[in-house]
Amino acid sequence: MSDVIVVSQKPSDAGELIGLARTMGNPVIVAFQDSAERVEELLGYGHRVYRVKSSRPEVLAKAVNILYEEFKPKLILGPNTRNVKDAMSVVAGLHDIHMAPDVVEVRGEVDGVIYKRGFMSERVTITVKVPYPTIILANPRIAEPAPKGGVGELKELSFDFIGVKVVEVKPKELSGINLEAAEVVVGVGRGFKAKDDLRMAFELAKLLGGQVGGTRPIAADLKWLPEDAWIGISGKRIAPKLYIAIGVSGAPQHMSGVAGSKIIVAVNKDKAAPIIKQSDYGVVADLYKFIPTLIEVLKRKRGAPHST
């Protein structure tokens, strides 16, 4: 009998979550918003797959709730996405069970699980023990991906849904860049006075073979950058070799998103800005003077081997 429900939102999350689920019990999979190929791929893990044809949180909550009542699982595992977090908070409330999002480590014990997650904008890690049943939403790289094998059984999960009505769906304006994989990231903050001025950041990033991301005000509020360029606790978490933060004050919500960077450079005209103390190299300068000069210096440097 299955005792772990795995919720899968994207092709990339399933392998690791199933891998984790197998170390803790006997999984069934709930997948949503899926193409036929993707369902085929999921069936290749050899577990039963329930398909839900919507990624809306209230639909997902209802689907998982139906399965929760059928299987009485000890564990629900899922990815730490907005849709899944939102849906699972309702399931957790309905059954009064614990839910832990953003989990970076988890281990099953006889009577419950022990997990670790970030806390206080990632400035503290908290290790917690909770009894079964519980919901764990894991960050990427939580476990080794499961090997495939066998053919699972497919079940469609459909039901009537009343309540919240969708009027319109608007895709987000996305850049398609993969900040998480970039080796160099140039981050822009409110120190920039106009959208046009971001050109400097893009030129610098291009010169260094990197990408441009931004703080919450830049990407989410002002929309000077697409939303997938938003770096921070609610946006992307990056781990480049070099992160250059320009005109970024260093709010904890932003800094927690760049904690994995090898080297952090801050350019800020305010020596007292929090980011200066949280960087490896803090340049105290007006970005409007410093960045064009830095670009010039780098260009000269790049040209140097040929011109001399």
Partner: protein, 267 residues
């Protein structure tokens, strides 16, 4: 009556992380402050109060102790809610629910709303608190109250025919939804621009009622699920080299030299 309930949390302040000598997190000496995004919920309640015409109640459950030492911080949080918009504040401070437990907190909030007869048409809350950031209390409260729930609301467009039209910000898309009332909404920082309360508002706040409650007052019995094994402060050892030159060219050259030494420059 068409009342609005706003959930307001006294969160540990992540900008002031205190550490014990052994590297563990010193919760007792880390101050509390209002969770930032709850300010957006309060700001929106000002506007919605005019639409619904009822009262605005703030509900706060203390989740961090020691109880005695938290009085001042807690008072400031509640004061802000009252100064901004709330007509009355409900505060649950009880040793038996410290440190907080998500399921317990949600049950206590739902119990305050039901037993105190707050009768909300709308429950507003920040999407997550700044200390734990688990994004789950609003959804749990909705489940406990048996109300529809919409999370990550970044715009409240209008209220019409017993419904509220909102935009919610999901992983890959934005949805415009019609939500039947009463309902629970969690809101994001994009919702509005919270204004600090004025001096007059702050002075007025001191005259508004604050109801201090314990679990006994609510007749509630709770079962905590999590036990905290350990909390450790992450030590970031950044080099903190300061480059401060009157001449920007000099500063740029210096930075480039450092980055070359670090081996992170690839031109």
């Amino acid at each position: 009556m068409s009342n609005i309930v706003v959930l307001v949390k006294a969160s540990l302040n992540p900008e002031v992380v205190r550490q014990n000598p052994d590297g563990t997190f010193d919760i007792d000496y880390t101050p509390l402050k209002i969770s930032d995004v709850d300010r957006n919920a309060l700001e929106e309640a000002i506007r919605l109060k005019q639409v619904f015409g009822g009262k605005v109640y703030s509900v706060t459950v203390l989740t961090w102790g020691p109880l005695k030492a938290r009085e001042k911080d807690l008072r400031l949080v509640v004061q802000e809610a009252l100064a901004k918009v709330a007509d009355e504040a409900f505060v649950v401070a009880d040793e038996s629910i410290i440190p907080g437990d998500y399921s317990v907190t949600a049950n206590v909030i739902a119990s305050v709303i039901k037993k105190m007869g707050l009768n909300p048409i709308l429950v507003l809350a920040g999407e997550a608190s700044i200390d734990e950031s688990t994004y789950q209390i609003p959804g749990r409260v909705a489940a406990k109250l048996g109300l529809p729930y919409v999370g990550y609301v970044r715009r409240i467009r209008e209220v019409r025919d017993g419904r509220v039209v909102v935009e919610r910000d999901l992983e890959d898309y934005i949805e415009v939804l019609e939500v039947p009332l009463p309902a629970v909404l969690s809101v994001t920082q994009e919702l509005n621009e919270p204004r600090p309360p004025t001096l007059i508002q702050i002075r007025m706040a001191s005259r508004k009622p604050v109801h201090m409650l314990t679990l006994k007052d609510l007749g509630l019995d709770v079962k905590r699920q999590r036990s905290i094994v350990e909390m450790r402060v992450v030590t970031v050892s950044r080099k903190q080299v300061l480059i401060e030159e009157a001449d920007v060219e000099k500063a740029a050259l210096k930075l480039v030299e450092y980055l070359e030494k670090e081996g992170v420059l690839r031109l």
